[in-house]
Symmetry: C2
Subunit: 321 residues, 2 copies
């Protein structure tokens, strides 16, 4: 009996796998190793209760062969579907990236769950499904849902493919709408960008936008904890939760100053114009985690503490390069 994770070599996947192994589960996972890396799995490769295969989930034939083989050796009881394109700007340039790596991986996962009779899915969705609703308080039941990035669109398309599947063959689904998640192993994101920029030119950090853009951040350790809490506690057929920090978030200026303070205290920070970093980026939003709080879970770190922890970890990670 094993828990199967897609995108297991990615940022969240490898952290989830390590936590599940620690608590005694049998864990198997696939990854196309496009953005994920087996380096992220170094600490668990070889673990007796762990299995990994490099599989492109957008290739249904390869995916079917590999999952059928895995399932016959150790029946998969639930699927944690984390595989996705995690690079939002890439999906603006080429919508095919989000179509293939986010939506079609979900579609194929559902197809195989139906074929193999696996009834439970946990899905990594995103706050990007809400699009830009201005200052509105974003609860899970907020509408309308008009994402402004292909990333958000294909996450929402995946959510609704799951909800339709629940009506006909799935038993149970958990939809987690992720906030901005930080921590290690960092593969992308604003902190890593800033750290690398400063390593290249330690005298000056150039920031896209005017630095007033504000978001809340959650550390990946807490994200994993929240997902497992919801998986344990929520009892509906379709369980959908915002996961996030319990605060208004921090500004890009705060992040820039934190990174400069840790990596290159002498550097000047130069801000650009406007409060959007790139097309499809949502400037500020208020993201409610009241539903998750009601279930009984709260983060232990606020956004600013999570940023400081992640800045230290990412600076450390990059210092070896």
């Amino acid at each position: 009996m094993s828990i199967f994770i897609t995108g297991i070599a990615g940022f969240v996947g490898c952290n989830l796998a390590a936590t599940l192994l620690q608590r005694g589960d049998e864990v198997a996972g696939f990854d196309n190793l496009c953005r994920g890396s087996t380096r992220n799995l170094e600490s668990i490769l070889g673990h007796p209760r762990f299995a990994f295969d490099a599989v492109d989930l957008a290739d249904i034939d390869a995916y079917r062969r590999a999952l059928t083989r895995l399932h016959s050796r150790s029946p998969v009881t639930e699927v944690w579907h984390l595989a996705a394109n995690s690079d939002i700007p890439a999906g603006i340039g080429d919508p095919g990236v989000d179509l293939r790596d986010t939506f079609m991986t979900t579609y194929n996962t559902l197809l195989l769950m139906r074929e193999l009779g696996i009834g439970t899915i946990a899905f990594a969705s995103s706050s990007a499904v809400y699009g830009d609703l201005g200052d509105r308080n974003l609860t899970e039941d907020t509408g309308p849902l008009f994402p402004i990035s292909n990333y958000g669109a294909m996450k929402l398309a995946s959510e609704v493919a799951i909800s339709a599947a629940l009506e006909s063959y799935l038993d149970r689904a958990y939809v987690f709408r992720f906030p901005n998640v930080i921590g290690i192993p960092a593969t992308h994101g604003v902190i890593l960008d800033f750290v690398r920029k400063l390593k290249r030119s330690p005298g000056m950090l150039e920031v896209l936008g005017d630095g007033t853009q504000q978001k809340s951040y959650l550390h990946v350790d807490e994200l994993v904890d929240a997902m497992l809490f919801i998986r344990r506690q929520a009892g509906d057929r379709l369980n959908y939760y915002n996961i996030g920090a319990n605060d208004e978030g921090v500004t890009v200026r705060f992040i820039a100053e934190s990174v400069v303070g840790r990596v290159a205290p002498q550097a000047r920070i130069s801000f650009g114009q406007g409060n959007k970093g790139w097309v499809g980026d949502v400037p500020k939003f208020s993201y409610s985690i009241a539903k998750l709080s009601g279930l009984g879970w709260r983060p232990t770190l606020g956004s600013s503490q999570a940023i400081r922890k992640a800045v230290n970890q990412i600076a450390e990670q990059e210092s070896g390069n």
Copy 2:
């Protein structure tokens, strides 16, 4: 300069095309002729301002060739994207149908609009995007959106692919959430089913479910009128409207009795159990058209009048067979 319609040989497409030609537009359209038929275009094939091509829009290469040729002859100013799988139960059996014919046709349409620089899309969405929200009043801003059919899921996935495209290259979009639409040429739906059942066995009409299932219905003539009204009057970049009758709808029992009355007055009606016709069918919902009323449009026929009109038209259509 032409208006381009996908799914033009389908039920709504052929009615829209005829109306646009009547008002003087140049109209071109593609259809894969899988559910649509050139018989539906008989009255307009040969019209000097009309062009039709049989093209599978799920085949991007064929679609690109055909649309590029059309666009170079007569620049397409806007796209009315109506092509979709219209058979909800088919998509329960094989989710690939809705993926290919509903979502991928949208995805490919957007891809080509980007390549060819066509900025305006009007999209036939569906009340099925709302899923089953019980007795809630369904306004355009209602959430959460968890469709219970692949049909609804792929319509919603299409909506959000459009909203993401608006953020980066589209100029303007019109999203029409269709109610149950009736009229001719009828290709599927409850009235046609009942008429055909009665032609096969004129003594008895068997109805799925207990007949209490209630929906509102709009005649296709009014649907086309409402879409063109919204296209003319709505001025946002993203204009999304429920279109429907201004009433609580009619029951399946009412429809069955209307069809029996017109086609086989002596027939008995036999009802089944429960108020769901099939998996993925939403038993009853309250569908608000307040936003559309606010824009200034109202249907002239209520659901019951629309049913009677359509029953007469469909009985007539089928009498020739």
